[in-house]
Assembly symmetry: C2
Homo-oligomer: 339 residues x 2
């Protein structure tokens, strides 16, 4: 397989450049005319760290790589624009495999209005994708950082939590629990379980909800990639406030309680530190909550009030029994690399 030949086959799959992209893939660099404010984020997925080809299809890996990058644009309230992909190809992945992976990525790009405007392909000992995404807004003031949470704001979260963590438990059952979790020994996943697995393997960036929240008064926003506890901690630190979360109000995804219980884990643990749900956490003035919930509902996702911003620092989770828990941040580099 040659790089140039592969690149030519990749380019056949791309849509023609849109109005903002003057020159797409194929020259030394892409040329765009952005206008307004530009938002840029890069996210890398590496085999054995973030995914395994045993558990994910190649198309799912491509989709997830773009989804996790776009999720950062969602958290800024930006519109998706362009994506640039650095693909590391291991010796055992052939050209058709590369294209299958790209097809997953291109499908989500089309769905979200993202243009794949450039990239790089290189050999690599492990399959890896570093995806840089560029988003846009009319002006910088329209974008929502992590730093705007103020005492008196309410905290709200889009969609449902714990699903990705429960999905991971289904994919990688704890020792001794194969009979419950493993589809080979217990038949197939039921519908609820399949949805949890999909939450883990095919996360959806909340782009429309992010823009709706930004327009409806969100003052601070972050996407939940590391887990609610850790990510709330980033908002608290950037804003110089304390975030109080009511565990009883957290919107658990359907089936999370069952999976957690069978695995001997606390479902709240999955919801607060499982990570990878890629929902959005927002702080906003209490009087804007109704408007924000309606705007998010119009995008097909719900918005749930889960707590409040107060003076102080850090994150405090009030458990249903009244005890307080201070979650430890989930730190990606410390994560076990068993996958």
């Amino acid at each position: 397989m040659g790089e140039f030949e592969l690149l030519a086959r990749i380019r056949e799959r791309l849509q023609p450049p849109g109005p903002r992209v003057r020159l797409g893939s194929g020259d030394d660099a892409a040329v765009t005319i952005p206008g307004g404010a530009t938002v840029t984020s890069v996210d890398a997925l590496v085999e054995g760290v973030h995914f395994s080809r045993d558990k994910s299809s190649l198309a799912q890996i491509g989709t997830k790589a773009l989804a996790t990058a776009l999720s950062d644009l969602a958290a800024m309230g930006a519109e998706a624009g362009e994506a640039y992909v650095a693909l590391g190809v291991p010796p055992d992945l052939d050209e058709d495999g590369c294209l299958e992976l790209l097809d997953g990525l291109v499908a989500l790009a089309a769905e979200t209005g993202t243009e794949l405007a450039g990239g790089d392909v290189t050999r690599s000992p492990a399959l890896s994708l570093a995806v840089t995404v560029v988003g846009h807004a009319a002006q910088a003031e329209d974008l929502i950082t992590r730093a705007g949470a103020r005492s008196g704001h309410v905290l709200a979260v889009t969609g449902e939590l714990g699903g990705a963590g429960a999905g991971l438990l289904l994919l990688e059952p704890p020792t001794g629990q194969r009979s419950y979790f493993h589809p080979d020994s217990g038949g197939k996943y039921d519908r609820e379980q399949a949805q949890l697995v999909a939450r883990q393997l095919e996360p959806q960036p909340r782009l429309a909800a992010g823009r709706a929240l930004a327009a409806a008064g969100a003052a601070a926003m972050i996407d939940l990639s590391d887990g609610l506890g850790g990510d709330a901690g980033h908002v608290a630190a950037a804003s110089g406030v304390k975030l109080q979360i009511e565990a009883a109000s957290l919107p658990l995804a359907a089936g999370v309680a069952e999976v957690a219980s069978a695995a001997g884990q606390d479902p709240l643990e999955l919801a607060t530190s499982g990570g990878e749900d890629y929902e959005l956490l927002a702080a906003l003035p209490a009087e804007r909550l109704g408007e924000a919930a309606a705007a998010v509902a119009a995008t097909g996702t719900k918005l749930t009030r889960i707590g409040a911003v107060v003076a102080g620092e850090g994150v405090e989770i009030r458990l249903p029994d009244g005890r307080l828990s201070k979650p430890a941040g989930f730190d990606q580099l410390d994560r076990p690399t068993s996958r």
Copy 2:
């Protein structure tokens, strides 16, 4: 080592955001106000494929990763703007090692006016850096693609060729030639050899020369990463013309002839297919050549006329003995991964 702690230490090393960057590293995404036309390129370097920690210092690896990415902006005639780095950290690289690598990258960033505005750090089986660079121009029409070469144009190249290829021969001598090449057995590299090794390990992006060429009438431009033969082929294909190169006129770097001869290789082979010189090849109207050479000289680099653009397709290299050679493209994925 935790990701958050490492990121905090990285951020300490960054300069405060410049006027274009409204929000730098540390939020979900960076926010910039670009204005005009934006140029974006991504390049990845992977250990064992593009470099080896035996031969390069960590700082050199960081420098080279940014340099190869910036070279694509140089080839567009753009001004360097922002860089975003996805760093894959192997188990045997500690936090200090990561920072040493970043220091090399940050030093070149400062030298070239590039702002490190964001990134991602993840575990990885092999050390890898995917660097996305964003450049700027007042308008898209100021940028030079590969597609503008026309019959009647002259071909010119900046700087000197073959140096990076000769440097690689010095670093990785052919079997049986340790006594000549290897510093351990023949003493140290002499000054000329050390410069060739530096051409391989610390390439310099020709940003100022690229802007000078763009302003002085360059109609097509490409940076020589894959080797003159292959890269000229890209210009020929994109422009729909034939590129005729006079081998005798190629500006060989000092010492290339000696290294090639000792290795039993043709110095012209190193100059045309060695790759990684990161000089610029430009096609331009003959009447602008003098102006272009003066403008490039003012940036501290020379410009050498090496051929002409004619009707037809592909690349033709006229050897000193009058024979014609049609270079095969150098294709990165086909490259031996011995390093």
